[in-house]
């Protein structure tokens, strides 16, 4: 579904990504692990079109999307839920969902998309009129993911969805991600909380200093000594 092939990217002279290749198959949850500054967010931004790779290519559903603008990849069903939630604080939940909705769909389609989002995050239905700036971190994360879901993504890029959340809230969010995946959305999940991410992921890649240093199924990676030491704290 997603094929990243030999992508390199530099901010000026600082090389952030070197020959990064990974793939995500339909229906999978793929975790992208790595420490601060490894290049995880930069890689997602190269995929969704916020940045253009210096070299290499990105294929999405057999189409070359290298360097395509972010709103165009969004139109093709590749939706990026950015790190830090990035909501518009003055908007209500209602308006935030609206802005994530494709512009050319009927009212019925929109209602059913909302239905689906509210099934996943029931609390948002009660808070439709609330300013998102006044909500808690966990609720904001729900709003941010819902905004992404309103676009009916085929592939959802989730950048640190559990960052800054209390452990049990983070667990809830991860459970929800698994649920969204069960309902048919493919997911590329970036996380520093490796153990939790591996719990729900099918496969995972480890990114270090802009290179993929390890990859394999979640079960394999959990057994690997390097991962255990570096990321799992075991």
């Amino acid at each position: 579904m997603l094929e990243v092939d030999g992508v390199g990217f530099a901010y000026g002279r600082a090389h952030v990504l070197n020959e990064v290749s990974l793939s995500v198959g339909p229906g999978e949850i793929v975790a992208l692990l790595g420490s601060n500054g490894a290049g995880k967010t930069t890689l997602l931004e190269n995929v969704s079109g916020l940045l253009t790779p210096d070299n290499g290519s990105v294929q999405f559903e057999d189409e070359d999307i290298t360097g395509m603008a972010a709103h165009q990849t969004w139109n093709r069903g590749l939706v990026h839920v950015p790190e830090d939630r990035k909501l518009f604080p003055d908007m209500s939940v209602d308006e935030t969902l609206d802005i994530g909705t494709p512009r050319d769909i009927s009212d019925e389609q929109q209602a059913s998309l909302r239905r689906r989002v509210f099934d996943i995050f029931p609390i948002l239905e009660e808070r439709l009129g609330q300013r998102v700036g006044q909500m808690s971190g966990g609720q904001q994360q729900m709003v941010s993911m819902s905004r992404g879901l309103m676009a009916e993504p085929d592939l959802l890029l989730l950048d640190e969805p559990t960052l800054g959340l209390a452990p049990d809230l983070a667990d809830d969010i991860l459970d929800t991600i698994a649920q969204i995946n069960n309902e048919g959305t493919t997911i590329l999940l970036v996380s520093q909380q490796a153990l939790d991410a591996l719990d729900i992921a099918d496969r995972a890649y480890v990114l270090e200093n802009g290179r993929i240093t390890l990859s394999g199924t979640a079960a394999e990676l959990r057994q690997t000594d390097e991962v255990r030491q570096a990321y799992l704290g075991l």
Binding site: P89, D90, S92, E95, P102, R131, A151
Partner: protein, 328 residues
């Protein structure tokens, strides 16, 4: 929250336009007509400017370019073809919109102060370009040779046309405010990158807003030129107009069309009083002071401040019960 706070302004628009339309019924005096003419013009310019500058946060300091293009187009079409302002002002709007389309694409890649500077320079470049067009001899200024007693030279009629421009401008601004484009522009102002990850074609939206905003200025320019009876670079491309338009919007508040309207009324009244009392130089100094005061004490403008005061007078019980609508 974004939309809610706008819902009261429809009836207000009708009241404003009706009041302004009635001015010539009360007085035909040249002085008052002139005063109201400039007030209405600045209000339209600023409300139009606000579509890009306020809603999307791209503050152009070259808005006068489009006023000038509209004005010159309007007058030139009369001199060459004898066309009247009902026709030439809309054509001027189209030409101004086209100019905005051409310069907007490159300029709107820049943000903040860079965009402000580039638009300032674009306005100067457009002036030089227009005044040096071969065969136009525009640097000398072009006079309208229409006889003074013809109906289209009637100051009252031209004033009414300018109120019409204001009505069109408010209507367009209202449409933008309510539409998904308005929300998109708001998203661009808050965080352009995030907006683009939500499928918003930011380039298209920004250029679109710039073109609409420029066309509205061109429309006003077409009428203003007829009101003056001539076009010369000095009033039609005066950089001070650009700055005033920005100042008016910032003074009033940029969230909706009401802010720039309040700003225009206030600044025009203050300016007129100052000029009458102390002369033009003092007025200039006051503008500077107003800008400083606005930035220091009213960073969001007068209107949000008024709304805040009004809200705080609502009894506490009502406030805590209300769910939405608290954000100004």
């Amino acid at each position: 929250m974004i939309r809610e706070r706008l819902h009261t302004s429809d009836r207000l628009a009708v009241v404003v336009v009706a009041t302004l339309l009635s001015v010539p019924l009360l007085t035909q005096d040249q002085y008052y007509l002139s005063f109201f003419m400039l007030m209405v013009m600045y209000a339209s310019l600023s409300i139009g400017w606000n579509i890009l500058g306020g809603y999307a946060g791209y503050e152009s300091f070259g808005h006068v370019a489009f006023l000038g293009v509209g004005g010159y187009t309007s007058v030139w079409l009369f001199v060459e073809f004898g066309l009247e302002p009902f026709l030439t002002a809309p054509i001027g709007a189209l030409v101004a919109g086209f100019v905005a389309l051409v310069v907007g694409y490159p300029a709107l890649r820049l943000k903040g102060p860079y965009f402000a500077l580039v638009t300032l320079i674009i306005a100067l470049a457009v002036q030089v370009f227009v005044t040096n067009l071969p065969g136009l001899d525009a640097s000398q200024g072009i006079f309208l040779s229409a006889p003074l007693d013809s109906p289209v030279r009637s100051q009252a009629l031209l004033y009414l046309l300018m109120v019409g421009v204001l009505a069109v401008t408010i209507f367009v601004a209202r449409c933008v405010e309510r539409s998904k484009y308005g929300v998109g522009l708001y998203a661009i102002r808050e965080d352009e990158e995030v907006a683009s990850t939500q499928g918003i074609n930011t380039t298209k939206l920004k250029v679109g807003a710039f073109v609409v905003s420029a066309a509205l200025a061109g429309l006003a320019g077409g009428i203003y030129a007829w009101f003056l009876g001539f076009v010369t670079p000095s009033p039609m491309f005066d950089v001070q107009i650009s700055i005033l338009v920005v100042l008016i919007a910032l003074l009033g508040g940029t969230q909706s069309w009401i802010g720039p309207f309040i700003g225009a009324v206030l600044l025009r009244v203050v300016d007129e009083i100052l000029v009458l009392q102390f002369g033009g130089q003092a007025a200039q100094i006051m503008y500077g002071l107003v800008l400083v005061v606005v930035i220091l004490y009213l960073p969001y403008g007068i209107l949000p401040k008024l709304q805040q005061i009004a809200r705080n007078r609502v009894p506490r019980r009502v406030r805590t019960l209300g769910t939405g609508g608290e954000s100004g």
